[in-house]
Structures are given as structure tokens and as C-alpha cells.
């Protein structure tokens, strides 16, 4: 079965070596130097990509670079096959954007938001918009400032979905939402990509939202790319090891991509290919470690585990360039 139903466009998003550097006196949100170094990733049409990373890592900067809200210093960005600078307007008519907080004039009523946005998009459908309002339970007469944060997000979503946008970009849409609302959103996104002609880029630090539904993951850590590629492979690439408190040798420390020590034990994140070496490099020498199978316990880490153990490191995992597979190489077609 050929999944190549993207309507002619193979990639919803191609980001190539994009970078942004802030001089030290201006420096980001904390007054320190911040830079986004040469980030490269692709999102094929018809899939959901999660953009993850700790706060301040550069996810929002990356999204603002996509929208040209911030000028990039290097690299190229192609959205839906078009250059994001040269064909900015054409690109934006096909983009749906949702931010963490409302961008509307908060004195507007829900109805007026629709009326204000409609003339900007040639493919606007008022029927679709009203349909979403009803579906989300948005009262057309209510002012934006009277809406809860979750409802404001739904309003942005309703607008984003009402002009046949081919790429939906969401910047931390679920922060501040409860579990039900997040669940609804993930269902909506699954429906959105169902026909293979729409894609989603979803930046979040709530990783549970992505654990089931994300097809691809791009992990930005401290301004640089840590991983990009299929989500399954990301989870498959690491092993989470636990052991007795303090039972970590120097060699093991250098093999671990992330290590947290507690009074009750330690958590170590190790790349799959290095697990053997890790197990053999125990404090008392190799023989003791192998003879005691219960010394370390292993499990497949969830997203949260991977993130909490690797966040803030600015280098990619050892022995791994950090870019595991470019999505271009990944087999998105089912083999015939």
C-alpha cells in the first residue's frame, strides 16, 4: 500500500542548517548568550512531528524562524515546497498557527475573530469555522479575554483549521490544558493527518502527548540538534539502567549519556550499542559485574526518562552524530 498520497508535495517542511545567534548583551530570555546552531530536519507530508526539548532550548525560536518572525542568520527553510522568505505570503496562507497564548485582540468576540481572519485567507470556509466553534463549545458572542486559556487555544485552532492549511504549527499548545483537553487535541491532530495531505509540527515539553501519536521527533537541546527522525527509533536507541546507590565507576560515567544519582540508587541512560560495555565496566572490574545479573536492572526508557537524563547537555551522544536518520531515508512507504 502506497502512502504517498501527499498531493504532490513530499515534504511539508525542510529545514536546512538553520541558525540564529543572539549577541551576548541581548541574549535570549535569561540575558545569556543564546544561539541556535545549524539545525537540520525534514518533515514528510502526512505525519506528525514533535519538537521537544527543555525550556529555553530553542524550540520557540525555531518556530519563530519558520514564520520569519525572527530573521535567521543562516540556512534555508522550505515549507510546503516553497521558500519561507521568497514566498512568505503564499506559505502563510497555507499555514495554520497556534501559540501558547492568544494572539487576537482580546476585546474581540469569537465571532469577530473569524470575521477578522477570514479575508486574509483565500480558502477560508465560514461553515467549517462555525462547525469548529460548535464542536469546541465556543460561544460566538464571548470576548477573547473572557475565555479560559484552553478555549483561547481552541479558538486559534478553529481559525487555523478553517482555511485548509496544509501544515499546522503548534507552539506549546497544551501547556496549561488539562488531560481531557490534551487528549481531545491529539485526537483532532490524528484526524487532521488522516488523509495524508496534511502535516503537523508540534512543539511541547509535555512529552506524554507525543508518546503515542508522534511519527517523528526532533529534539533540540541547548540550542543544537540532538536527534531527528522516527519516534520509535528514538525510543529504541536508549536503555535505562538502574543500580545501587554510588555503584557507578568512572568508565561507566563516561559511557552514560545521562546520569542521576539518588540516595536510593542511580538512573543511567546509555545508548543501546554501549550497554554491554557499560555492564562490563562496573566498579569492581568486569568479572564481578557479569557474575551478578541483578546488579543492574534495564528497561526501555519513555520519553520523559530520555529527556530528563539528557537535557541541558550540549553535545550529541557519543558515537552518534545526533542525527540518527534523516527522515528522507526513512521508509514511510509500506514495502510492496
Amino acid at each position: 500500500m502506497n502512502d504517498n498520497s501527499g498531493g504532490g508535495i513530499q515534504y511539508a517542511l525542510r529545514v536546512n542548517d538553520v541558525g540564529k545567534h543572539y549577541p551576548s548583551d541581548k541574549g535570549g530570555s535569561q540575558g545569556r548568550t543564546f544561539s541556535l546552531d545549524g539545525v537540520t530536519f525534514d518533515l514528510p507530508m502526512g505525519y506528525i512531528m514533535g519538537l521537544i526539548g527543555p525550556n529555553g532550548a530553542g524550540k520557540s525560536t525555531l518556530i519563530r524562524l519558520l514564520l520569519n518572525m525572527v530573521k535567521r542568520d543562516q540556512g534555508s527553510i522550505k515549507i510546503l515546497g516553497m521558500d519561507n522568505l521568497l514566498q512568505e505570503e503564499a506559505v502563510k496562507t497555507q499555514l495554520g498557527v497556534v501559540f501558547d497564548t492568544s494572539y487576537f485582540i482580546n476585546l474581540w468576540t469569537v465571532d469577530r475573530c473569524g470575521k477578522a481572519m477570514a479575508p486574509l485567507y483565500p480558502n477560508w470556509s465560514q461553515t467549517v469555522f462555525l462547525d469548529y466553534l460548535q464542536r469546541f463549545g465556543l460561544d460566538p458572542a464571548k470576548k477573547v479575554k473572557e475565555l479560559s486559556r484552553g478555549m483561547q487555544m481552541k479558538l486559534m485552532l478553529a481559525v487555523a483549521l478553517s482555511h485548509d492549511a496544509r501544515l499546522l504549527v503548534l507552539d506549546e499548545p497544551t501547556s496549561g490544558l488539562d488531560v481531557l483537553a490534551r487528549d481531545e487535541l491529539m485526537n483532532l491532530l490524528a484526524d487532521y493527518i488522516a488523509d495524508g495531505r496534511h502535516s503537523v509540527l508540534f512543539s511541547t515539553h509535555i512529552t506524554t502527548d507525543l508518546e503515542r501519536s508522534a511519527d517523528f521527533i526532533t529534539y533540540i537541546n541547548d540550542g543544537s540538534l540532538y536527534y531527528t527522525g522516527p519516534r520509535d527509533e528514538f525510543e529504541d536507541a536508549f536503555v535505562l539502567l538502574h543500580g545501587a546507590p554510588g555503584d557507578v565507576s568512572q568508565a561507566q560515567r563516561s559511557l552514560a549519556l545521562g546520569l542521576r544519582e539518588f540516595s536510593t540508587g542511580f538512573d543511567a541512560l546509555v545508548a543501546v550499542e554501549h550497554v554491554g560495555a557499560f555492564l562490563a565496566a562496573g566498579q569492581d572490574g568486569p568479572t564481578t559485574a557479569l557474575a551478578d545479573p541483578d546488579r543492574y536492572s534495564q528497561e526501555r526508557p519513555g520519553f520523559d526518562d530520555i529527556l530528563r537524563l539528557t537535557a541541558r547537555r550540549s553535545k550529541a551522544p557519543q558515537g552518534n552524530t545526533g542525527v540518527v536518520t534523516a527522515a528522507a531515508d526513512y521508509d514511510t512507504e509500506v514495502e510492496a
Binding site: A194, R212, S213, D215, F216, R231, D232
Partner: protein
Amino acid sequence: MKLIISSISGQPIYQQIEQQIRDAVLSGELVAGQALPSLRSLAKELRISVLTVTRAYNELAQEGLLENIQGKGTFVMSQGSERMHEQLLEQVRTNLDRAVNAAMQADVGMDALHDMLDQAAGANPTATG
């Protein structure tokens, strides 16, 4: 087709799908030539990523259980395929090994074991001669 995915079972989701489809095919619940749901519809129903389903289907296709036909969909391979046959034979062998081991432990002799095999075949309406 019933498919239950657990996010906390610790087993990767694509493996869970593979296993359940494999079980369904081997048990006859999914018959030869039957069409499986499309990638996207299954992903949507299970609320998991499309790539996960793709991977499961691909791996099952490599095993010979499923067949992907361009433009038409994914179908269960007809039971006459070699690989399916091998898998089933493998199952027979494994189960027989287990039966033999259990018989040893229970002090059941090989003749008694043969009798038990005949009884089981007799009780199974689909068993042939």
C-alpha cells in the same frame, strides 16, 4: 479485528501490534486474503502514530504473514506460503518439545504420550488423518 494496545506494558507498541496480528493470523481469526485496515485508519483508531503501524505491517510482511499490494492495501498471505508454513511448523515443534519435557517430568512414557496425541486429534474437529 480486536487490537488492544497498552502504553504501560513496557513492550513497544509496534511489537504489540505485530504480536496480536500474528496471533490472529495463526489462530485463523484473520483468514487468508483478508484485507487489513489501511495504515492511517488503524493508526487513527488505535490513536497511535502512523509510522508505528507502518513498521508493524512492514515487519509482518517481511515475515511473510502479510502482503502489501501497491494501491490496494495490506492482505493476509494465503496460508500456502512457505514462511507461514515454517512458522506453524516451528510452533508444532516447540509445543511438542514442551509436551515431551512435561511428560518426562510427569513420568509419562512415550507410548502414553502418543495416545494422548491421538486423543487430542480426535477431540479436534479440524484435524485431518
